[in-house]
């Protein structure tokens, strides 16, 4: 009896806890079939109304004996804002649009260049329940063409598409990546500018190219999706002001301290070739000098190099013994990177884009908000001068050597 008395309270408490589980149900339950999940939103200039908004949907599942495939469809509607477009789209659909799984927002070049992004983004995204981690892409054509080009063979796995973009950015650095949160933060903070991945369409994947633009950044490609992401779109505040190629994007990531790996091939004076995978070994160290008329920056970059391919086995053996690059290789890589960094930095600066995040370093030089605001950094962006001090360290050697 005493045991029962002792356990009475804990048992009662447990019973109450278990019974409250039955109270944890939805107040407004909605069947999954009532929603159509929008995977990608495309923003274009409309013909009748201000905007034409495309929704890439994934909502139907076909089952057959061999495979289960998801069908996608693209719905386009026009409106003066996104809500109008949604209402028009839903009027012809048997379900409601749901944005909780949206991975991308694709913006057409025209909208980005005409400073119409903020008008669209002044909507309350919380009302749409859009994930703030959704990524943004600028399409070098129309957004609807880019979205249509994502249709690859008989199935589209949009989750794999997103992870591919992330892998491409992290492993190769040929494309940029920015979420809605980061984009809005870049515009609000005025200490750096947004750099979005640049999307394009290559209509020649199934047929011979008819013009220059029918290639993937100048290279012919067969097979795969019509749409691709390569390079970066530069923004000055909220306006598109320039583009970078894939290679230039890699150098920009190096300046930002975010490059994990990029393979570059070099040729020595004796004609032998070698390839190194370079990346940031640490964050760049930046010194700011505001004493003169111009803003002077000194970047110190420590770059790690992994030797991936070398035609000269003697040189490889020497490097293995000494644990460092040969002098001529070191100089060659440093000169290349120095020139490339300076070119890309000045290219961004000249179009008014603080892609390197110079503002982040400059604002640390001021003690009060008044001094910082009086300095008016944005107006002095064109006066920024930069020099780079690059050091290379040999991180590893992965080579297959050939007899000379």
């Amino acid at each position: 009896m005493q045991i029962f008395k002792r356990i009475k309270k804990p048992v009662c408490f447990l019973l109450i806890l278990v019974n409250t589980l039955s109270l944890c149900s939805c107040l407004g339950a909605v069947s999954l079939e009532k929603y159509g999940y929008v995977l990608t939103i495309g923003l274009d200039t409309g013909k009748r109304y201000k905007y034409s908004i495309s929704f890439l949907m994934e909502n139907e599942v076909e089952e057959s004996e061999q495979k289960t495939a998801s069908k996608i469809n693209i719905i386009t509607a026009e409106g003066d804002n996104i809500y109008d477009a949604i209402y028009i789209a839903e009027s012809g659909l048997p379900y409601r649009l749901n944005f909780s799984r949206t991975n991308y927002i694709v913006i057409s070049y025209e909208i980005a260049a005409n400073d119409e992004i903020m008008e669209l983004f002044s909507t309350s995204w919380a009302m749409l329940k859009l994930r703030t981690s959704a990524n943004m892409i600028v399409a070098n054509a129309t957004a609807s063409e880019f979205i249509e080009g994502l249709n690859y063979s008989s199935s589209v796995n949009a989750t794999k598409l997103e992870s591919n973009l992330i892998d491409f950015y992290e492993n190769e650095g040929l494309s940029s990546m920015m979420s809605i949160t980061s984009f809005m933060s870049a515009i609000e903070s005025s200490r750096y500018d947004a750099v979005l991945p640049l999307g394009g369409t290559d209509t020649s994947v199934d047929s011979p190219p008819e013009k220059d633009s029918d290639t993937t950044e100048g290279s012919e490609r067969k097979g795969g999706m019509i749409s691709y992401t390569l390079g970066a779109a530069l923004f000055s505040d909220s306006v598109l002001c320039g583009v970078l190629s894939g290679r230039e994007n890699q150098i920009l990531l190096l300046i930002q301290g975010k490059l994990k790996g990029s393979v570059i091939q070099f040729t020595r004076a004796d004609g032998t070739k070698y390839s190194v995978r370079i990346g940031n070994a640490e964050l760049p160290r930046i010194k700011v000098d505001l004493s003169g008329d111009k803003i002077r920056l000194h970047y110190s970059l420590l770059v790690s190099a992994v030797l991936e391919q070398d035609n000269s086995s003697k040189v490889v053996e020497k490097m293995r013994k000494e644990g460092k690059l040969t002098e001529d290789m070191d100089m060659q890589i440093r000169e290349f990177l120095h020139s490339a960094c300076k070119t890309v930095f000045e290219q961004c600066r000249d179009v008014g884009c603080d892609a390197a995040g110079v503002g982040k370093s400059v604002c640390k030089e001021f003690k009060t908000v008044k001094e910082w605001e009086e300095f008016d950094f944005r107006s002095r962006l064109s006066d920024v001068e930069c020099d780079f001090d690059i050091r290379i360290e040999l991180a590893d050697i992965y080579v297959s050597t050939y007899p000379e």
Partner: protein, 375 residues
């Protein structure tokens, strides 16, 4: 007598005070006032908390010297029953304004971010029910609930701050001195009203906290915890958002888990945190309403706290509804309390404390003379 006082342990009291002080200190002030000219709240808020504690310290010293069991007894000792009633009503009015400001913040969050289809009035009605029940159930219930909720509150708070780790960057905190020392100190002074209701409530409920000596120990512990939590939180907020960005956010802490932009299984921690914050805010408001009701009952010799609790809860909700509908009178009065509340609440307490100390000194010296005369 049904004043629902009871006695609780030190742990419960510390939790109650910490929750009340942190909810006011972290959520009540307007971002546009705090951050427009730079972010130095991680310095200003701890100073404000210490300032409020110093008012408490003067009050508790006076209570000890005058051998008063609580704030009402000290006011009666210093000013007599009528004077005490006037001062106590004034203190109650200011506390009610502070409660409505805190409650209004969370009502707006619930209305704007969670229940867009519900009306503001229905949400307020739910809050009213909770406030009435808790404040009527009394001191012990509020404190014991605070002990249970406090652990969850701290755990969620720490999780939120740790989860946002990837978004912390040092450049966002610059310029470090905000708008200069003068502006920092002015904001610290104005923010004293955020923490004063908590410490004043401790003075009012000193009897339930086992006397003035124990109350001061509890308050010191609560001060330490509150200063640490507020400083760390504001510092990490400053590392998450530059000052011009955070000035535009209604409740920056709520948005903090999404600022990372990276998805993990804690990305919707904002919603979970918000509900725990709402629970903590309701608990804090219940504690303030209880202490205001207790002060009223003691001043006017009421024997049952429940009518006062119900009435004050309704008044608080009405103030929230009036400010939501932007009725000019209520709005400007609440703004006035927001700007000058530190003075409005601190001055009467310090004045009464000083009078009580002087009176007790005079009494002791006259008792000492009588003692000598008798010898």
């Amino acid at each position: 007598m049904n004043l629902r006082e009871g006695r609780v342990g030190n742990g419960e009291c510390v939790f109650t005070l910490v929750i009340s002080l942190c909810m006011s200190g972290l959520f009540v002030f307007e971002s546009i006032d705090a951050y427009t000219h730079g972010n130095s709240t991680y310095i200003s808020l701890p100073i404000a908390c210490i300032l409020a504690f110093s008012v408490f310290a003067v009050g508790i010293f006076a209570m000890t010297r005058s051998r008063s069991s609580d704030l009402c007894a000290m006011c009666s000792y210093a000013l007599g029953k009528t004077g005490a009633a006037v001062v106590c009503v004034f203190i109650i009015v200011i506390i009610l304004a502070c409660i409505s400001t805190l409650l209004n913040k969370f009502l707006n969050v619930m209305y704007s971010y969670f229940f867009q289809d519900a009306s503001y009035y229905s949400l307020a009605a739910f809050f009213l029910a909770v406030l009435v029940v808790f404040s009527c159930m009394g001191f012990e219930t509020v404190n014991r609930a605070a002990k249970v909720l406090g652990v969850v509150f701290l755990a969620t708070h720490i999780l939120l701050l740790v989860n946002s780790f990837s978004s912390y960057e040092t450049y966002k905190i610059y310029p470090i001195a905000g708008d200069g020392m003068k502006s920092m100190l002015r904001f610290a002074f104005e923010s004293g009203i955020l923490f004063l209701p908590g410490f004043v409530s401790a003075l009012i409920t000193a009897k339930g906290m086992h006397g003035t000596h124990n109350t001061s120990r509890i308050a010191v512990k609560a001060l330490i915890f509150t200063v640490i939590i507020c400083t760390v939180t504001q510092l990490l907020l400053a590392l998450s958002y530059p000052y011009d960005d955070i000035a535009k956010l209604y409740m920056p802490l709520y948005r903090m888990s999404m600022v990372t932009g990276e998805e993990n299984f804690l990305v919707r921690l904002d919603k979970i945190s918000a509900f725990i914050w709402v629970a903590a805010a309701l608990l804090a408001c219940s504690y303030y309403i209880y202490s205001a009701s207790l002060l009223y009952c003691r001043s006017f010799r009421q024997v049952d706290i429940r009518p006062a609790s119900c009435s004050l809860s309704v008044i608080v909700i009405m103030l929230c509804l009036l400010s939501h509908s932007e009725k000019r009178g209520a709005f400007s009065w609440l703004n006035f309390v927001g700007d000058y509340g530190t003075l409005l609440l601190a001055v009467p307490i310090i004045a009464v404390s000083v009078i009580a100390i002087i009176k007790s000194c005079i009494q002791r010296s006259s008792l000492g003379e009588v003692g000598h005369a008798n010898i």
